[in-house]
Amino acid sequence: MGKRGEQNLGAKVYLFVYNALQFLGWFYCLLLLLKFFSTKQTNYRQLWKQVELPLTIFQTLQLIEVLHCIIRLVPSSPFTTFIQIASRLIVVWGILKPVAETQTSIGVPLIVGSWSVAEITRYLYYALNLINCIPYFLTWCRYTFFTFLYPSGVSGELILMYTALPYIARRQIYSYQLPNPFNISFQYNLALILLMLSYIPFFPLLYFYMVGQRRKMLGGKEAGSKKAN
């Protein structure tokens, strides 16, 4: 996130409200996860059923961030933003909803936990950044939590996709077969395998990008007193 230069007040207020809303949404998801664990339940489908609605709403709502980028409300690239959101939307809309068998997977608590904690820190950071009062602690969280949230979230996503593969192949979900007048076909499970393989180059790329960001924002290892810029 670069400096948001001369942004007008309306845009600032809007972004603040949006980020605060997202923060609350993900906070609610995290509460549901904690509630689930506190009742010592073990069937992850129960967790999914409870968290499904808010998680779907707030994850899908993130699509308007692509719009924010297009109309230059925020300085990021719309393409990168979309890619980041897209893989999660595939997990929610393309795996968990159509392939109910995946809902009992360990991947469910992994993604709910990783996504919600990551988004809580991220949106709180954005919101407070707009009013220029980020406590150092929050900056530290934002640039530290990813070290374990990113691998755990990606593991959850990959576990869910992998679990879904045989069911998708058997039921031919979202597949389009030849012959047809457009002379094209689509094998959803094949596309998912390609997507999973794409994590191999992209995961390290993003992870080490974040490591670089962390070094930039937090300075040296022991620089606990150094202010974030």
Binding site: L178, P181, F182, N183
Partner: protein
């Protein structure tokens, strides 16, 4: 005179040149740098006045430049380079080969259905595809004159992935045993074939006209104008009619085959060519104050 050549990233000294003739061209300066830094051959070098400044052309003479206090030039390393012609030959040979492999209906790709009868549209499409890429290979060797000798090596991999991949992807579906022939039958096939042939002739005419615009062995640039060849009339309306014709070719090929992957290739190609055309159009306008006003970049009257 003395010049320090700095790295624009961190202002560190790459090399210090002594006794340079102030009336030498930048191309000669690049050779002097190369003498001391054997890794940085001239095509790899881009000289600038500022760390983030504009690339300076080879023809510029040193003493016409407004050199900074310490006689400083910045050198951006463009990375390993490869000749345009090599890249072109690789990137056009691939789709020809990949497509023809699928045209042979290999059992490996299509299994036992491979022996199903082949529709006329499939044969015609294979001829069109092959003709197009043979034409491009021919033009690369005998027609094009390149103003820049090289491009970054990475482009070779990017371009080949794009062309080879699409060749295989489109070929797989057009030559598939379960291929569905065009909805309007012969009428669709032959009208698109005529359109395709005309577009290819147009594309070739433009390439030939552009070649004749630039005398052999020079990097001279002129405003392109319609010639006696009727296909070149498009120069009246757009700066890059070769791209316009190329897009038409692929629209007709997509219609001929009625294959969505071919249409996707058309859209991707159009996007890329539109970006290039807008860039070239801008350069023409900047370079020639008398550049024709009504001319667009790639689509007559629109873009």
């Amino acid at each position: 005179m003395e010049i320090d050549i700095l790295n624009p990233r961190n202002d560190s000294l790459i090399v210090s040149l002594n006794g340079v003739n102030p009336s030498s061209k930048l191309s000669e300066v690049k050779k002097l740098i190369y003498k001391q830094k054997r890794r940085l051959y001239p095509d790899r070098q881009s000289l600038r006045l500022e760390p983030r400044g504009k690339h300076l052309a080879d023809e510029i003479v040193l003493n016409t430049l407004d050199l900074k206090k310490g006689k400083i030039l910045y050198l951006k390393d463009l990375g390993p380079q490869i000749g345009w012609r090599t890249v072109f030959l690789c990137e056009y040979f691939g789709p020809l080969m990949c497509y023809l492999i699928t045209y042979m209906r290999p059992w490996l790709l299509y299994g036992d259905k491979a022996s199903l009868p082949i529709h006329d549209a499939v044969h015609i499409a294979a001829i069109c595809w092959s003709f197009h890429y043979l034409k491009r290979l021919y033009e690369t060797v005998f027609v094009h004159r390149f103003s820049h000798g090289t491009m970054p090596l990475l482009n070779l991999f990017k371009n080949c992935t794009y062309y080879w991949g699409f060749g295989l992807y489109i070929g797989y579906y057009v030559n598939h045993p379960l291929y569905t022939p065009p909805y309007f039958g012969k009428m669709q096939i032959y009208s698109c074939l005529v359109g395709f042939i005309l577009s290819e002739l147009g594309n070739y005419s433009i390439h030939a006209a552009l070649r004749d615009l630039r005398p052999p062995g020079t990097k001279e640039r002129k405003i392109p104008m319609p010639t006696s060849n009727p296909f070149t009339f498009l120069f009246k309306y757009v700066s890059c009619p070769n791209y316009t014709y190329e897009v038409y070719s692929w629209i007709f090929f997509s219609g001929l085959t009625q294959c969505l992957p071919a249409a996707m290739f058309t859209v991707a190609g159009f996007y890329q060519m539109a970006v290039w055309a807008l860039g070239k159009h801008r350069n023409y306008k900047k370079e020639f104050s008398n550049y024709p006003k009504g001319r667009k970049a790639i689509i007559p009257f629109l873009l």
